[in-house]
């Protein structure tokens, strides 16, 4: 079974969201069978900043589902969207 690296974009609830706190919660939210890689900030518009979270999951049943569910529960996160997926060699 291979592995897949996914980039997941988190949109904040408002421009005032505490991004550092959100990042800590992102790292704590990653389920056991997934592996956290990194977080990048992406400025969007009018003060809104999205977080792009890169994680590695198995190329197997469930896909990024559990990671997405956990990320969606983080306070300050408006929504979660997988923007990129590709297999690792």
């Amino acid at each position: 079974m291979g592995e897949v690296v996914a980039t997941i974009k988190l949109m904040p609830e408002s421009p005032e969201v505490d991004l550092e706190k959100m990042k800590e919660e992102v790292m704590a939210s990653i389920p056991e069978d997934a592996e956290f890689h990194k977080i990048d900030e992406e400025p969007i518009a009018f003060g809104l900043v999205a977080l792009n979270v890169m994680v590695v999951v198995g190329d197997s049943e469930g896909g990024t589902e559990q990671v997405e569910e956990n990320l969606a529960k983080i306070s300050g996160v408006n929504n979660v969207e997988v923007t990129d997926i590709r297999r690792l060699m």
Partner: protein
């Protein structure tokens, strides 16, 4: 200064054991992304490099490799090796990373597998019009021309079913392990007169941004920002949005004037396909519109479907799909439950011919034309009008059960 090369996103698709990774590894090796000294002698050399990276847990390196670029004389490619498991199909359909072209890898010793069919269908659904067929592992059949021609015929029949023209597509016999016909023509296949893989990649035409299509911006989120007002955020899929344009959000039916557009916190006068933007609209309140709505120009509004005809392929379903089934359709940013009204015809995946009119049910592996009715208003477009807005994944019970595209529709208004 040398002219900058045009960039293309190239997807590698096909069955998970047909050597996609090895082929990608070989191309990256040519580009220098994998250091030569890591190459061991032996038949399994690329696998060796990969195993070594994994052993040493150089995670950063393998992740960087997955995003690495590769140059041909004409283009700069970013390679996307597509996941094999069906649970990623939803992400491939609704995600942002759009492949401009694809290499479908089929191993000569294994032939066309269910995943080969699924991926050919998905490539079409994803709007990938340029395809190369890599017939891999030729070394395992001693570079037999007859076997190559047989599989070429079989794959031709398959891709014809999703409207690719085999006569316009290169079928390349190669061995990813041995390196045959990847950058230079191999002595092992003297009967093959076509291009190498890299030569074939350079025959692609560069993708054009769909700026001539009607404006469509599926809304991801809506904000109310102090001092600015209502700010919908989304990615422009097609068309151009300019400051001062009058836009309408469907199915909400609300319209207003675009006062300002920002991307990466910078003001823009106009936004084009691929841009992730926030835009301030006068005359529209935060609660008037929501995620899943689509913005377009008022004189060419997004289509709201009362019902639509779709071509679908059932990827995995534990039971059968019958009339009345109501799973959730994921289409751009919308998620709407839709009821199957009619199973029109079941297709033979090998020939594309109608196998059965009005079948009683559909099961895993079936391709079919169906009519569905959204349980609430939803924006979708015919795949031939605006391909970016016509594809969807069907989800149920936590699984992606099917994928498809909108062929025709009855508009709600």
């Amino acid at each position: 200064m040398a002219k900058e090369k045009e960039h293309m996103n190239l997807a590698f698709i096909g069955h998970v054991d047909h050597g996609k990774s090895t082929l990608v590894g070989h191309l990256l090796l040519q580009s220098g992304a994998i250091a030569e000294q890591q190459l061991a002698k032996g038949e399994d050399k690329f696998r060796f490099v990969m195993d070594k990276l994994t052993e040493e847990r150089e995670r950063g390196v393998t992740i960087d490799l997955a995003h690495a670029r590769f140059d041909t004389p004409k283009y700069e490619f970013t390679i996307v090796d597509c996941p094999g498991h069906r649970d990623f199909v939803k992400n491939m359909i609704t995600g942002a990373s759009q492949a401009d072209a694809a290499v479908l890898v089929v191993a000569i010793d294994d032939g066309v597998m269910p995943q080969t069919k699924e991926h050919a269908f998905l490539a079409r659904t994803l709007g990938i019009n340029q395809l190369i067929i890599a017939i891999n592992k030729m070394d395992l059949v001693k570079y037999d021309e007859g076997k190559f021609n047989d599989l070429k015929q079989e794959v031709s029949d398959l891709i014809k079913t999703v409207a690719y023209k085999p006569s316009e597509i290169d079928f390349i016999p190669l061995s990813a392990f041995e390196g045959d016909n990847i950058t230079k023509l191999s002595e092992n296949t003297p009967w093959y007169k076509g291009p190498t893989l890299v030569e074939s990649l350079d025959k692609f035409t560069s993708p054009e941004k769909p700026t001539n299509l009607p404006l469509r911006v599926p809304i991801q989120d809506v904000y109310s920002i102090t001092g600015v007002g209502t700010v919908p955020v989304g990615r422009v899929e097609t068309g151009i949005m300019k400051k001062g344009d009058n836009v309408i959000f469907e199915p909400a039916g609300k319209s207003g004037e675009v006062k300002s557009i920002e991307m990466h916190h910078e003001m823009l006068d106009m936004a084009e396909p691929g841009d992730n933007v926030g835009f301030n609209v006068r005359g529209v309140g935060k609660n008037d519109i929501r995620r899943g709505d689509v913005a377009g120009h008022t004189d060419n509004a997004p289509s709201v479907a009362k019902e639509f005809t779709a071509q679908i392929v059932v990827l995995q379903h534990p039971g059968v799909i019958t009339v009345g089934y109501t799973p959730v359709f994921h289409c751009h940013t919308a998620q709407v439950a839709c009821t199957f009204l009619e199973l029109q015809k079941k297709l033979d995946p090998a020939t594309g011919q109608v196998k059965e009119e009005n079948p009683d049910f559909l099961k895993t592996g079936d391709a079919a034309f169906v009519v569905v009715k959204p349980t609430k208003p939803m924006v979708i477009e015919k795949i031939k009008d605006i391909p970016h807005m016509g594809r969807f994944a069907i989800r149920d019970m936590g699984q992606t059960v099917a994928a498809g595209m909108c062929i025709d529709m009855v508009k709600a208004k």
